[in-house]
């Protein structure tokens, strides 16, 4: 499949999945997975980062639009989209020449695990910190981050295990 087409499809698929299915799960009354950030993990690595940052903003905004949260998802998504390159350099030791050949699927599981877990926790923490919007109830923010991150990671790894496709 054409790469652009594939990622356009992935964008709308993850957005719809998040808005219409995952936002309504509410495990134990309040725990939701936020799987749409998988788009940011899978997006191809390029030297030009305009596309990734801007598309992440649109994805976050799309989720915000349907959950009455202002710009919380947009903020967190843009944040991890910007710092993705930094963490790829940190965990995978990639040089600029390696960028076109970088695939999350062909990397060792341990490194991918570290990469995904860091970005997920970062994203979820920002999300719940802004959703809480005060310095009170910090323990609630950390607990929410932890539970949701576990849920997201379980879905992400099981999902990527089932749909193994080389992109």
């Amino acid at each position: 499949m054409n790469k652009t087409l594939y990622f356009t499809f992935l964008f709308f698929f993850l957005w719809a999945l998040q808005v219409f299915v995952l936002n309504n799960i509410l495990l134990f009354g309040y725990v939701n997975p936020y799987l749409y950030i998988a788009f940011i993990f899978f997006y191809p690595l390029r030297k030009n980062r305009f596309n990734l940052i801007f598309i992440s903003f649109l994805l976050g905004l799309g989720v915000d639009l349907f959950s009455n949260t202002g710009g919380i998802h947009a903020f967190a998504s843009v944040f991890i989209a910007y710092f993705r390159l930094f963490f790829i350099k940190l965990f995978f030791n990639k040089l600029e020449a390696d960028y076109p050949f970088f695939k999350l699927k062909s990397e060792p599981f341990g490194k991918v695990f570290n990469f995904v877990i860091t970005l997920t926790i970062l994203h979820h923490f920002l999300l719940f910190a802004f959703a809480n919007f005060s310095f009170g109830n910090l323990s609630g923010v950390f607990l929410n981050t932890l539970y949701s991150a576990i849920f997201t990671l379980v879905l992400f790894f099981s999902g990527s295990y089932i749909f193994t496709k080389d992109y």
Partner: protein, 269 residues
């Protein structure tokens, strides 16, 4: 000049990042401001339309439960009517009523965040505007926030910014109802006078001291009374409504609202 171009080239991603984060932050701030959030509210045409379609499908599976609730409410109202000895007439010209009720359906409901909103399927076309009361047969649900032509966003009672005037049933001890963001079944009543004889199990209802809510709409029962002395004298109130399971609601419009507000503003000047 060369320096500036060089600067932009070097930091272009960082500047884009800052720019987008700034937009997101301003959206977050306006969203928490009552009535100001026009752009990203679920009351807009696109989002409201999609939610309405989804709800229409979902509702088929809950018809039994919804009918049961409506019949119960009708039954209660008929009994009340019997007690007052008033007979209902079909005369629509008799307009000395102060509040008018409009029925609507909830098409989207959140209750798990700190700032919760609902979306209902009527809007400006039905005369709905901001700052109107939203209730159902069991009690208070929220206040309308922003409406488009066909949809309205409601600021839920489970929103840290919501303040509702409330009182102990059949007395004149008033307080303010707010929510601490923890449990979606429990809200807090603050600033009620210390001499008020409050016991666990007492009923709390709206006070009617604002132009939004009529008097004596049920809210909940007292779940915990503060034993120690504290400044705000906080009381936990368990809601009559299960806020996670709502369907049909009424929007209450106050016919005298403009007159009252005009009068109050006159006094302030």
């Amino acid at each position: 000049m060369q320096q500036i171009v060089y600067f932009f080239q070097r930091y272009k991603y960082f500047l884009l990042f800052l720019f987008l984060e700034f937009i997101s932050l301003s959206l977050i701030f306006t969203n928490l401001n009552f009535q100001k959030s026009k752009f990203l509210a679920s009351s807009n045409f696109f989002v409201g339309g999609i939610y309405e379609k989804i709800t229409n499908t979902k509702d088929y599976f809950r018809l039994d439960e919804i009918n049961q609730a409506l019949v119960e409410e009708n039954n209660r109202l008929k009994n009340q009517l019997e007690g007052t000895g008033v007979t209902l007439t079909q005369d629509s010209l008799n307009t000395n009523q102060k509040f008018t009720y409009t029925s609507a359906k909830i098409i989207n409901n959140t209750f798990h965040t700190q700032f919760n909103f609902l979306t209902i399927d009527i809007g400006k076309q039905m005369g709905i505007d901001s700052e109107m009361a939203v209730i159902n047969g069991k009690g208070v649900i929220g206040i309308t926030d922003h409406s488009s032509n066909g949809y309205t966003r409601v600021q839920s009672i489970l929103n840290k910014n919501t303040r509702i005037n409330a009182r102990l049933k059949n007395t004149n001890y008033f307080g303010t109802l707010s929510w601490d963001g923890k449990d979606y079944n429990t809200v807090q009543l603050v600033d009620i006078p210390r001499q008020a004889p409050i016991k666990v199990g007492d009923t709390i209802e709206t006070g009617g001291k604002s132009t939004i809510f009529p008097e004596a709409i049920p809210i909940g029962t007292v779940a915990k009374v503060n034993e120690t002395l504290s400044v705000d004298n906080k009381i936990d109130v368990k809601l009559f409504n299960d806020m996670s399971n709502l369907k049909y609601i009424y929007v209450i419009k106050n016919r005298d609202k403009e007159e009252i507000l005009k009068l109050e503003n006159l006094e302030n000047e």
